[in-house]
């Protein structure tokens, strides 16, 4: 759509706004002044320009006087710019050919005691607006179609709920999970606070809903490897890693694992138990398919002198003939309109806190490891026993809070939110199973802010006699004779120093962004907050949006949080994604950046300035020039200000449209 090259024919409309404007300045004089300005065909004033008769007057004039620009001098454009833009549209004029002059909020309302000066100022403002109006151009808000499908990255509780919410709304969802099964960290938990619900019991129905939902395509053991496009039309490449087991044939009978000769530490039990080279993460895994770990499997790692594999047992014993050693990685491309990142967290590595001697003694474990011990499906079937021999029942367990949280010595200043609660839970569960055991929690503060949380913590103290000692643990030492850890504590409330000899020390490790979160952030160009988690668009008002249109975040990828908050955010992210997907199209704004390629030298300064990565340097006709992606441009104009050659301009706010305004206001 080109701006017509004919002479501007401007209509100026001055609103009395009742007495708000007319009561301070002489609107007739102002109208007379306006009618004398260059290119002004007609100038009128009226009591309430935004009223029906006022609007009709403008429409009539546009038709009768063939106006092609309209100036409305009235209230703030923040009030009625949309009103008058719609009016222009209804009269057949492009909505960007309107210029509003603020002679109320910025003039008559604030200069009531200087009416003469206010009139002078109004004249200057209108003169500037008329010049600007004569340079306004027809601008387009392009409507781009949106692909009504979404990608959810991460199959933990947040990702599952995001996927279900979208799928239930009629959207096709691709759920990509990098491990062989969905379920995330929640599948590793025994019970959840504060209700002490069995974690798996509430999780597995959700997992099954996802597996069975007709709108969800589950891509497990898969990773996002490339991202192109933008909101409404993302083209994403997903790498499907080979399981070497055919998911359509595998019945998960387990015969293969029974006979498999190779084993490795079981990641699901964080190394506290072993699994075979062919394995299923846990019996209720979704999909319920075994996977071969090629780094451990003898078929892949051991060959004879002739190059023939030394093992092939699983293939021989599999009753469903599901083993396929020749499976290849496959890359698929999916096309989606929105993306939700739910890549979760990893626990803080306590080896970074050398004072706590993690790794030096097997009696010092992380909270997640203790959770596995508590779990009926864990290495001990739910019995509380000391690693690594699983013979001794620990009679004194010391829980150390804030390991890798609120600690500047390891560069983690924030609070991980969930540890006070999960420690109270673990202390309660320990005391339930070892009633004559002693549980100590060494804390800095107890943060129990959620629903039922404070009551739960009180239960630990009062009902289960868990001893809470307020102290920063300086050090854990290993007694050279007993080989037991001794926790050195200075009770802040009493001042007493204590050395607590423990059978088991549980480190309440904090939450860190997961490695996949960092990778995905880079792929989607989502920035990260100073704490390392994904940056939300606005801390208060837009917690699940990012600066990248069409990409949403939820769960622990956005920051440490518990299960109810993760679920709430997941649904919020799905709802935000639906705002785009349900509408069916996205609109570009009219006042985007635009580059004159004949003037552009490809210096790249604009690229450095754009907060939305909407500009790229491309080679066109052998020349490096800037190229703006309209759909990503939000219209700030920073690139236009930065451009050293004047090649980059912002539509509707070009230098040729702004400088005359500045000159007029400075001169008059």
């Amino acid at each position: 759509m080109e701006t017509p090259s004919e002479q501007p024919r401007i209509g100026v409309y001055i609103c009395h706004c009742g007495t708000n404007i007319a009561g301070v300045i002489n609107v007739d004089e102002l109208t007379k002044f306006a009618s004398g300005l260059p290119n002004v065909v007609i100038a009128k004033n009226y009591q309430f320009m935004c009223s029906k008769p006022g609007q009709e007057m403008i429409v009539e004039d546009i038709k009768q006087h063939k106006l092609n620009r309209v100036v409305v001098a009235a209230c703030s454009p923040r009030m009625h710019e949309p009103t008058f833009r719609r009016l222009l549209q209804s009269a057949g004029l492009n909505p960007y050919l309107l210029e509003m002059v603020n002679i109320r909020e910025h003039c008559t309302w604030v200069h009531e005691h200087e009416p003469d000066k206010a009139l002078e100022k109004a004249k200057a403002l209108i003169a500037a607006a008329v010049i600007r109006a004569s340079r306004l151009e027809v601008l387009e808000e392009k409507e781009l179609p949106v692909v009504k499908s979404a990608l959810v990255i991460g199959g933990g509780i947040a990702g599952l709920f995001a996927a279900l919410t979208l799928a239930n709304s009629g959207v096709k969802v691709y759920l990509v999970e990098s491990s062989p099964t969905i379920g995330g960290k929640m599948a590793m938990l025994d019970k959840t606070f504060p209700t002490l619900d069995c974690s798996k019991c509430i999780l597995t129905p959700i997992m099954n809903d996802v597996a069975n939902h007709p709108n969800i395509e589950l891509l497990t053991y898969a990773e996002v490897v490339d991202v192109q496009g933008s909101v409404g039309d993302f083209k994403i490449k997903v790498l499907l890693k080979p399981r070497y087991v055919d998911p359509t044939k595998c019945k998960a009978c387990g015969e293969c694992a029974k006979k498999c000769p190779a084993s490795a530490p079981n990641e699901f039990d964080i190394g506290l138990s072993k699994r075979k080279a062919i394995y299923i993460t846990f019996p209720q895994a979704v999909p319920t398919v075994y996977t071969i770990d090629p780094n451990v499997c003898l078929y892949f790692t051991k060959r004879d002198r002739m190059g023939r594999p030394l093992c092939g047992v699983c293939q021989k014993v599999c009753p469903a003939q599901a083993i396929d050693y020749n499976m290849q990685p496959k890359t698929v491309e999916i096309n989606v309109g929105a993306v939700i990142i739910a890549t979760g967290f990893e626990t803080f590595d306590p080896r970074l806190k050398k004072e706590y001697k993690y790794g030096v003694s097997p009696r010092i474990i992380t909270s997640l490891e203790f959770e596995r011990i508590l779990c009926a499906t864990g290495p001990t079937g739910g019995k509380v026993l000391c690693p690594p021999d699983w013979k001794e029942v620990p009679k004194r367990v010391v829980f150390i809070q804030c390991v890798g949280s609120r600690d500047l010595t390891v560069d983690v200043p924030y609070c991980s939110k969930v540890c006070c609660m999960y420690t109270a839970k673990q202390a309660i569960l320990y005391k339930e199973r070892v009633p004559d055991g002693e549980a100590y929690v060494i804390y800095i503060d107890v943060r129990a802010a959620g629903k039922g949380f404070e009551e739960f913590y009180r239960r630990a103290v009062e009902e289960f006699n868990v001893t809470y000692i307020k102290s920063r643990v300086g050090e854990v030492v290993i007694d050279p004779e007993t080989n037991k850890p001794i926790v050195r504590v200075e009770d802040a409330l009493t001042g007493y120093m204590m050395e607590l000899e423990a059978d088991l020390v549980v480190l309440a490790v904090g939450l860190r962004p997961s490695p996949s979160t960092l990778k995905i952030a880079e792929l989607f160009k989502v920035s990260r907050s100073p704490d390392g988690f994904l940056q939300e668009l606005h801390a208060k008002l837009y917690p699940v949006q990012t600066a990248v249109d069409g990409v949403f975040i939820c769960g622990c990828a956005q920051g440490p949080k518990d299960i109810p908050d993760s679920v709430a955010q997941a649904k919020a992210a799905a709802s935000a994604a639906l705002e785009i997907l349900a509408q069916g199209f996205v609109k570009t704004i009219g006042y985007v950046a635009s580059v004159d390629k004949d003037l552009c030298s490809g210096c790249g300064i604009c690229v450095s300035v754009c907060p939305y990565d909407a500009i790229a340097i491309k080679v066109e006709n052998g020349k490096r020039v800037a190229s703006v992606e309209d759909v990503k441009c939000k219209g700030c104009g920073s690139c236009a200000a930065a451009c050293p050659s004047g090649a980059m301009q912002q539509k509707h706010f070009k230098d040729s449209q702004l400088i005359p305004v500045v000159k007029t206001l400075a001169r008059m």
Partner: protein
């Protein structure tokens, strides 16, 4: 020598989201302030260039005020950091040229209507005083109008 009834002209650049809204708020609250300011609306303070500021001064404005959202609150995430850098560079040059007191940068959130009015009052006074001081140059020396 500048006249005692000298009325300075101050051009104000305001961003659509925060500072323009603050100026609107001053209006709806009927907070009175001197007429000497004329406001130019842009989407983000980062649209404002040193060229625009110098044009204002060269064409007859006595002072320029650049306004925007507080750092960290920019509607476009990081625009105001660029505004700050551009202003500081321009100020460095203007200081060297003896014009440093004529251009200012100030952040206003959408709720700071009263603060804006107060700022205008004191800035107008300052420019008036600056023009009347013995150090100010007369038109013959190529100084302020």
């Amino acid at each position: 020598m500048s006249k005692p009834d000298f009325e300075p002209k101050i051009i104000v650049f305001a961003c659509n989201w925060c500072s323009y809204a603050a100026m609107d708020l001053a209006g709806t609250s009927r907070t009175q302030y001197p007429h000497n300011v004329r406001i130019v609306r842009v989407m983000c303070s980062s649209r404002v260039t040193p060229e625009m500021v110098l044009t204002a001064l060269a064409e007859g404005a006595d002072a320029v005020l650049i306004t925007g959202c507080h750092p960290g609150d920019c509607h476009y995430l990081v625009g105001n950091y660029k505004t700050l850098a551009r202003y500081m560079l321009l100020k460095k040059v203007l200081d060297d040229l003896g014009l440093g007191d004529r251009v200012k940068l100030e952040w206003f959130s959408a709720g700071e209507g009263e603060r804006f009015a107060q700022y205008v009052r004191s800035f107008v006074e300052e420019v008036k005083k600056g023009a009347l001081s013995p150090k100010s140059s007369t038109p013959e020396e190529g100084g302020s109008r």
